[in-house]
Amino acid sequence: MASLNVRAALLSVSFLILALGLWEMATQPPEAQTGLTEYEMLMGGVEQESRVPPPSAVIKLAWAELSDPFYDAGANDKGIGIQLAYSVYRVLTGYLAAMAIALPVGFLIGMSPLMYKALNPYIQVLRPISPLAWMPLALFIIQDSDASAIFVIFICSIWPMLLNTAFGVANVRQDWVNVARTHELGPLRTAITVILPAAAPTILTGMRISIGIAWLVIVAAEMLVGGTGIGYYVWNEWNNLDLASVIFSILMIGVVGMLLDLALGKAQKLVEYNE
């Protein structure tokens, strides 16, 4: 089985080299031009930056950025680490706020068919709304761009958590609930010692979906509100036509998203059980 891992790793590395090689070749500067087009003359010659940069340029930039990720040279020139930290901070704040509401309400809905029936129509209407559609309303009501971005994260991460919690709680095996009943556990002790651990894997699946969505949404939200954050950074570098930075930050978005998912995956492992 170890040989499978080794072979997979070798194959992965070969794919990477192949892809980087193709990319490098496709982005070579053109051979000596016969002359400048009218547009190029207007723009003052062939602009190096207007082409997709080769991987070597991106790697060079990544090296420079990652060797000093937290520098701060004014509003429009902050290290990638600082920008990512802003985004992660917003995601976690909105996410934790969503958790604080979704878990108890999900429990309530899961335990009470009455509450489920009463609240279900609202959930069904609110859930399919694109989180960014809330942005104008949030900006108007909250009057603060940072808090509005956090609110958008809150609203997009609440639904998977809420629905999975409700589903997990409602589907706890009746046998286990009966065990709690025959041992005279009160409602709170039953919730904590039986229903929560029984529903935990389902709840964590919802939390994992939520963190993924939140990370997707924060980039778009920060492009809208501006100021700080990785979303703003990507947009800003695009406006600067610094495509190497754009590509580099895209990769960083992927890496951080993966780390967030990995963390939730680990948590999921902790609460899993086999029947």
């Binding site: 009966n178 025959t182 029984a198």
Partner: protein, 308 residues
């Protein structure tokens, strides 16, 4: 009037039959249990045994009638009644030991951690599982899981133990071993037990009395059969007792030929039957001696087989 430990009075269960009418699963169930008795109930599938047991456990409600235990009416589940479910119902995220600790802590919240642990371990030892304390239920065989479940029920020392086909899902070999264990624990604790089974031999081995249910709908507990075999009993030797065969024949005949039409006494209480009455006296002394020596040699062989 309430003199017995547990009195079941006029219990019935009615479900809608799905066509606008009503379906009476069982009706006017009346019986009493005395403290320290082991009673099994046998009846064909669907006659309502589990429902009756769940009503006693307080997990289900009867449509009519009531149950009084120790002079108090049963209204919901309680720690003075322990339940062993057919599907074990262990909490799969807890280890074997913690499944017992969970129950013991619920029963005696004032106990110290050490005392709870020690008590739980003692009961796991009784069922021979002291080597599997830290395994999860998913890592145990079906037989081992059911042992944990039995240990959990006994560990809380309930006044009444309710067992719903505890061995139904086990193979014959494992079933036999755990039956022996149950006999052993029961001889030690003499708890009051009410148990559902489909197995006539199991019922005779374990019970003092066996309730026979007629078929549903409108099922009744028609008869109460006395098992006249002294304790302690053992699976290997019980076949030697002439009362065993009389009782067994009677039970099988009921289940095969009479369960459709059998009725209780006019007042609704089960007819009391003693199929083995007089067997001991009727058996000639020589035959009696023979069976005894037979049983001895049989248990000798069994012992040798175990030692080998």
């Amino acid at each position: 009037m309430s003199k017995s430990f547990l009195e079941v009075d006029g219990l019935s269960k009615v479900y809608p039959d799905g066509q606008g009418g009503e379906l009476t699963v069982f009706e006017d169930i009346r019986f009493a249990l005395e403290k320290g008795e082991f009673v099994c109930i046998i009846g064909h599938s669907g006659c309502g045994k589990s429902t009756i047991l769940n009503v006693l456990a307080g997990l289900d409600e009867a449509s009519a009638g009531n149950v009084v235990m120790n002079g108090k009416e049963i209204k919901g589940p309680g720690l003075e009644r322990g339940v062993v479910f057919q599907n074990y119902s262990l909490l799969p995220w807890k280890t074997t030991l913690n499944n017992i600790v969970f129950a013991v802590r619920a029963r005696w919240p004032e106990w110290s951690k050490d005392k709870v642990k020690e008590h739980s371990e003692r009961y796991l030892k009784m069922v021979g599982l002291d080597h599997a304390l830290n395994r999860k239920p998913s890592q145990l065989s079906g037989g081992m899981r059911q042992r944990v479940s039995i240990a959990r029920a006994f560990a809380t020392q309930p006044e009444l133990l309710l067992l719903d086909e505890p061995f139904g899902a086990l193979d014959a070999l494992t079933r036999g071993v755990i039956q022996d264990e149950l006999v052993k624990i029961w001889e030690e604790t003499r708890q009051t037990v009410f148990m559902i089974t489909h197995d006539v031999d199991e019922a005779i081995l374990l019970s003092d009395r066996i309730f026979l249910m007629s078929n549903g709908p409108n099922a009744r507990i028609a008869e109460s059969v006395k098992v006249d075999i002294p304790h302690p009993r053992a699976r290997a030797t019980i076949f030697q007792n002439p009362a065993y065969h009389k009782t067994r024949d009677y039970l099988v005949d009921f289940l095969v030929n009479r369960s459709g039409s059998a009725l209780p006494e006019k007042d609704g209480t089960p007819k009391i039957v003693e199929p083995a009455q007089g067997v001991a006296q009727a058996t000639p002394a020589s035959a009696d001696a023979e069976t005894e020596s037979d049983s001895e040699s049989e248990s000798d062989t069994a012992a040798r087989a175990v030692n080998a």
